[in-house]
Subunit: 568 residues, 2 copies
Amino acid sequence: MSEHVVVIGAVALGPKAACRFKRIRQDAKVTLIDRDDIFSYGGCGIPYYVSGDVSESNQLRTTAFHMVRDEPFFRDIKGVDVLSSTEATQIDRVNKQVHIKNLRTGEESVLSYDQLVIGTGATPRKLNLPGEDLENVYYVGNMHDAEKIKQGITEGRYSKAVVVGAGFIGLEMAEAFSDMWGIETTVVEIFDQILPRMCSPVLAKMGQKHMEEQGVTFKLGQTVSAIIGDGKAEKVVIADGEIEADLVIISAGVIPNDKLARECGLACSERGGILVDETMRTSDPLIFSGGDCAIIKNAVDGSPLFLPMGSMANRQGRVIGGNLAGRNEKFPPAAGSWCVKIFEKAMAGTGMSLGAAKQAGFDAISVTLIMADRAHFYPEKDMMSLELVVDKSNRRVLGIQGLSAGGDAMVGRINAVAAIMKFQPTIEDVSNLEVAYSPPFASAMDVLNSVANMADNALAGMNHGHGPDTFAQLWTDRDSGQYCFLDVRENADAEPFLKKYPEHWHNVPQGEIMRRHEEIPRDKKLVLVCNTGGRSYEAQIMLDALGFEEVLNTQGGMAMIKAYGVDI
Amino acid sequence: MSEHVVVIGAVALGPKAACRFKRIRQDAKVTLIDRDDIFSYGGCGIPYYVSGDVSESNQLRTTAFHMVRDEPFFRDIKGVDVLSSTEATQIDRVNKQVHIKNLRTGEESVLSYDQLVIGTGATPRKLNLPGEDLENVYYVGNMHDAEKIKQGITEGRYSKAVVVGAGFIGLEMAEAFSDMWGIETTVVEIFDQILPRMCSPVLAKMGQKHMEEQGVTFKLGQTVSAIIGDGKAEKVVIADGEIEADLVIISAGVIPNDKLARECGLACSERGGILVDETMRTSDPLIFSGGDCAIIKNAVDGSPLFLPMGSMANRQGRVIGGNLAGRNEKFPPAAGSWCVKIFEKAMAGTGMSLGAAKQAGFDAISVTLIMADRAHFYPEKDMMSLELVVDKSNRRVLGIQGLSAGGDAMVGRINAVAAIMKFQPTIEDVSNLEVAYSPPFASAMDVLNSVANMADNALAGMNHGHGPDTFAQLWTDRDSGQYCFLDVRENADAEPFLKKYPEHWHNVPQGEIMRRHEEIPRDKKLVLVCNTGGRSYEAQIMLDALGFEEVLNTQGGMAMIKAYGVDI
């Protein structure tokens, strides 16, 4: 009898593992089980289906050549049997059997396996709020939710949406509602920034400001205590008060579906998720797992990593497929790369944010640079903000995050760093990273090299100062008399500020510092400002050499001060 | 007396090394020498100045904040003295002196140095053609040439241009002439492809075809024997005949300017260029070199590498600046990353092309994939072609090259591989490269992961066949009766070809192969075709398992067959 591989879960990892194995082992039998009747879909595409960018829900289930990935597709094209609307209720490892239940008929039966794959995915985290069972409250857990939301939108039933959770899906849904359908949208987030843990408060604020300019409202640092309504959602209650809402989306993260694995005694993480080794095997060598239900290793510090992303599931699925066929493939530790489109901008990152790095015990600092994403003389370009997180003790790069209107350029820079994260890169690896150069695509000293150079200068004590967040604090405190805000740009650039703030704003162009430094007060902390932080860095070096004692460079300069939203 | 650092050459590496050193060592004296009166410019921007994308030549010499990098700029802003129009005629290493000559006055003098940097760059390779001294024949060696060319163009003096050399600058100049000024442009290249050595003939042909569609004419495999004209260029003579031309650009590569270094006994390569170690020191520890006059190490095979690019010069300049100041910075071996915009498409690569790898002695193969550069259901996307070159013996990745309309996405993928080249990656490192995923920016199984998976399948013998070049040969030979061209797409896709080529084109959709395989001839070589090579790969696996003996998958499918220009 031919070998039988059973795969539980048919969204991303399951189909990939099943089909890959079958391609290598045409003689084997593969059975793919899913409790849903819609399977093998791109769940990450749901916000784009809701927005209308993707017009039909089936498009998320079709191949690049427009064929729907349904049961006949898997049978005829892939040679894989699918049992949909079928739940795996128990794994009997001793007898190598999976107990299954047909959810249409209620019929129960047993499937024997030679090898098994658990790709049961994750479930949206329930908040257990009063009122969360009201109509028009959704968790966006699957295509059925997506179709209901989309139907309500196209029927014009919603005018005010509240999205709970400012993670990727929350922000993408907020954009979908607001941008394409003109629905008044408020995002409520328990942390005091968007994309908590993914990036710094500074980058988060810049992203938030962009979304606010596009009409989205944010309520940060706010817990939802209840959803109120008569049958349907009408209001969302937060500490600040009540927000009217006829549509509520709860996207507060996901929880790995490890129940089946746990019940049959496979090793699982205390915090949830099936533990796998680098071959994606569970504690039972005949059982593999991966995707949103599994826990892998963090490339930065070796800690357990839960990274529920479709890309991880696909790549891991292929490794499992090979290993089912007797290969010895390994899935490397991951850094946690991410990207998200928010209206006209993109945010992206890999590795740890400054906050996450500190929480993980690293002696970390970060530097933030804003610079054109290609030759500054090239006509079409965008300003890219990059924040590099490094370990002060050993110069290791722990992570990088950024924001830019040029999405592909932004993601491309992040991917280059993501590629080396498992090699434990140092600052020098990014300083000299071989970015391909031509004026339409990069600078001769690219923004990526430059942010690493900046980190090098910060660790050497050559570039000292602050970002726009600290600048905002100092500026608020400007009447204390402690600070001299020194604009080192040419007079024409400084003049509007000199006029508006004659008592606080001062101007000595960088090129005139050597002959005019006696005009600069020595009894105040000098807060240096230029367009992007480059000239003020050079001015800071000059003033340091001239013996000025407290010279603070405003990294990112006016460009980042404005993007951050300082009222100046 | 403060330390004196002398830097010879003030285009890219020189200014970067000088200014970086000065920032670290504010007390030191730095003198920057250049024989030209225009210096510190972005030479790579010349084609964009000629095209008009960059309106003024000074823009290539200005900072991001619009300040021209002239003598006062270096003095006041950077603290660096510049001697322009000054030639270094001799280096006296015993006395640590540079002999210089003021080219304006003829005055000769001597500069003592404590440390020296040689950044003398490269000179366009002269072809020594009869007629190359005629008016309107240019080598594009510096800003003066660029200004003359631009002036002639804006005065409407040129209507027919010939560009000799289909490297980066040649192609960029051809685009500038043709796209922005409507000048009838012919590119002559001695090799039988554009971008020789940089990419495969297949990708080259795809790029060439795109440029031809935009109106550029190519004469490949042709040597220029003379330029003819009465005072001014009128015709360019090649084996094929004569090409009318009132403007001739010769861009046949560059030669490192190592004369000064050679004459003072510094170690140089036999093939030209100053040898440096990983700290960018020459054979004299007090003398550094880098940029277009230096030879570094190839990350792929450790061989000497001449890589004249502004980005290399800038990054190396910073390392030199640090080392001049007593740091111990290292510049890593390079893979040779490149990118070039050709009209609406971009081509890019890193590491070795298949041809270069074979020439270097590797047992190399390549695979070529064409696939959307983001989720196939996302509305805005481009098809990206990627060719991965790998070593059959040890699965090492030797290089990657590609072409796409989405330039930033294209370059971003190349940069991700470039980043790991010095770590000697294997196929698995690219298969599992952690590309950040979100539908607007990547596929769940990204094109970059996929091309590595394809290489894995090729080495495993699972994916066997050919690219569009071999397909073109087989198709030409279709009347031989040796081949069955089997279209495995759905009937609707195959139908136009079935009608047009009833004797040669056959169709069994992939999903029907298991029940219809008896229709398929067993006495012919099966040439499988689908849209992009994915379904035909799966069909090939099925047919292999069914015992068909010669099954050939057409990698890249109809998409690449068309982009390559097969007449079908």
